[in-house]
């Protein structure tokens, strides 16, 4: 170093605060929808549905394990499974599967360089397909009661 330095000028830039988008929790930056465009929103919902599906998988296995406890336990579960709230959760599950699956197809097509410049159009198009499928499924689920 030539010349002298003013105290405190050494290591300029080290230890400075880092702004992160997010909700105050470390590593939540991806979750913050403020200031985001379509792509960022799609990504965030993808992650939420992904986490939701993992939680569902655990619940599903827990439910299936009731089969090991005999017929009366399973029948009890079936009574629960046909009430409105439970069916609504089923619809929510279908939404999660559809969103995660269809958006996943979008990400695969876009992310491998096949159609990188059509990501917004693809989101809307698959969204239409998904919405129709969801509506159809919901009618079927509620109608089966």
């Amino acid at each position: 170093m030539s010349g002298q330095e003013l105290p405190g000028t050494e290591r300029r830039g080290d230890d400075g605060p880092v702004l992160r988008k997010g909700v105050g929790v470390p590593a939540s930056g991806w979750f913050d929808p403020r200031g985001r465009a379509l792509g960022g929103f799609a990504f965030a919902v993808n992650r939420v549905t992904g986490l939701g599906l993992v939680v569902y998988l655990y619940l599903h296995l827990a439910v299936l394990s009731m089969l090991l406890r005999g017929e009366s336990a399973w029948s009890g579960f079936l009574r629960l499974a046909t009430n409105w709230l439970f069916l609504s959760l089923d619809v929510l599950l279908i939404f999660g599967i559809l969103y995660h699956g269809l958006n996943g197809i979008r990400v695969a097509l876009v992310g491998s360089g096949v159609v990188p410049d059509r990501q917004k159009a693809l989101w809307w198009a698959l969204g239409v397909i998904g919405t129709i499928t969801l509506a159809f499924s919901a009618l079927h689920i509620y109608g089966s009661r």
Binding site: M1, S2, G3, E5, L6, P7, G8, T9, R12
Partner: protein, 402 residues
């Protein structure tokens, strides 16, 4: 070409440069190569004064070939040197001087003769030839002359000098504002600075202080009790969406407003105008000047009239000369080193005037004066040392320096 001089020894004289524009950066580079210890302080980001704001023209000097031959010759020499020592920092597409009216054509002969007299290589073109090179030119043009203009990145090209100086051992501080100069017994011995990063204040001492603050030269000079004849002379520029030309397009006439269109990436910059102010920190962007840019620029390239607006801004030229001039265009565009020992103040030198194209040449002459004053008997080597890429300014490690 990376390192070309060993770092300065602790016994080497120490120079404090005030002002982090192109001139300050080039001076830091030159002095560092001569083994002088350099500290540079800039109150904002480097090139945030006038340097970063100009339209990016690498002058061929043709604009000055008739009225200001000294400037023209300086420009064409530095033009060639900069292309060699800053490779990759220019859009090297040459430029055109375009004659639109009979009046322009009256200037044509003087223009061609002036360029030849200053050693500026030119090629005379017919209107058709010019339109093949630049299809969006005004189809009514009468004639054109090709000149070795180019476009530079107004910030990144000077940043290379900062990068070279830094890796040569200079200490460069941005966000450090000079509050006052330290003057004792008729000599400047340093500066009182505030570090904007920490908020703290303190003194920096040096064997010699250089005032390289461009249009702010007067303000710094007064801290030493001397005057420098600088008229800050702003001009307006207008950036438009669309790359409407690849070559720099100039109007062939004596200087006037809105007579240049400089391509920059995907923008076209139309400039400029001229007036004088007292305070280079208070720059207006007069709406009538901006409108004039559109009108005059559209005479050269009709598509300018409808192109989308990106930005309009002002930048202050540091013109040498007293404040009597009204428009600033009458003052010379050459540069000057002032050793204030002539004014009775030792240890203080001002380098000012000039233009972006001549940054290296200005620094060489100033560094010669400084070296002599400090008893350092080494010539400048900046003519032939390739500067580091601008990204090297931010690099911590050596691998970027190739």
């Amino acid at each position: 070409m990376t390192r070309s001089a060993p770092r300065a020894s602790r016994d080497a004289p120490h120079v404090l440069i005030v002002g982090g524009g192109g001139t300050g950066g080039a001076l830091a580079h030159d002095l560092t190569l001569r083994g002088i210890r350099v500290t540079l302080v800039e109150r904002g980001e480097f090139t945030s004064g006038t340097t970063g704001r100009h339209h990016g023209l690498l002058h061929s000097g043709a604009r000055y070939a008739v009225n200001d031959r000294e400037s023209a010759i300086e420009c064409i020499e530095e033009n060639a040197i900069l292309r060699a020592i800053c490779p990759g920092s220019f859009e090297e597409n040459d430029g055109l001087f375009v004659a639109l009216t009979d009046e322009d054509m009256e200037y044509y002969a003087d223009f061609v003769e002036g360029c030849k007299g200053c050693g500026i290589p030119i090629e005379e073109l017919t209107a058709q030839e010019a339109l093949r090179m630049e299809p969006l030119l005004n189809p009514e043009l009468k004639a054109a002359v090709r000149v070795p203009d180019a476009t530079m990145d107004a910030m990144r090209m000077p940043l290379r000098f900062f990068a070279s100086a830094k890796h040569g051992g200079a200490t460069l501080y941005n966000f450090m504002e000079v509050l006052d100069l330290v003057v004792a017994d008729g000599a400047v011995t340093g500066a009182t600075v505030r570090d904007q990063v920490t908020g703290s204040e303190g003194d920096l001492h040096a064997d010699l202080v250089v005032n390289a603050t461009g249009p702010w030269s007067e303000k710094i000079a007064r801290m030493a009790g001397v005057d420098v004849p600088i008229s800050p002379s702003p001009g307006v520029m207008l950036a438009l969406h669309g790359r409407l030309c690849n070559m720099v397009i100039n109007r062939m006439h004596r200087s006037g407003d809105g007579d240049i269109v400089v391509p920059q990436r995907a923008l076209s910059v139309v400039g400029t105008s001229s007036w004088t102010v007292e305070d280079p920190d208070e720059l207006d962007v007069p709406e009538d000047h901006v409108a004039r840019m559109r009108v005059e620029g559209a005479k050269l390239i009709p598509a300018v009239a409808q192109a989308g607006f990106r930005a309009a801004w002002s930048a202050a030229r540091p013109l040498i000369g007293a404040m009597e001039a009204d428009s600033g265009r009458e003052l010379s565009r050459t540069f000057k080193t002032i050793d204030h020992a002539e004014d009775g103040v030792e240890g203080f030198v001002t380098i000012t005037g000039g233009k972006a194209t001549t940054l290296r040449g200005m620094a060489e002459l100033c560094a010669d004066v400084i070296s002599r004053k400090l008893g350092v008997d080494r010539p400048s080597t900046t003519r032939t040392v390739t500067t580091l890429p601008h990204t090297a300014f931010y690099a911590e490690n050596e691998r970027r320096l190739a």
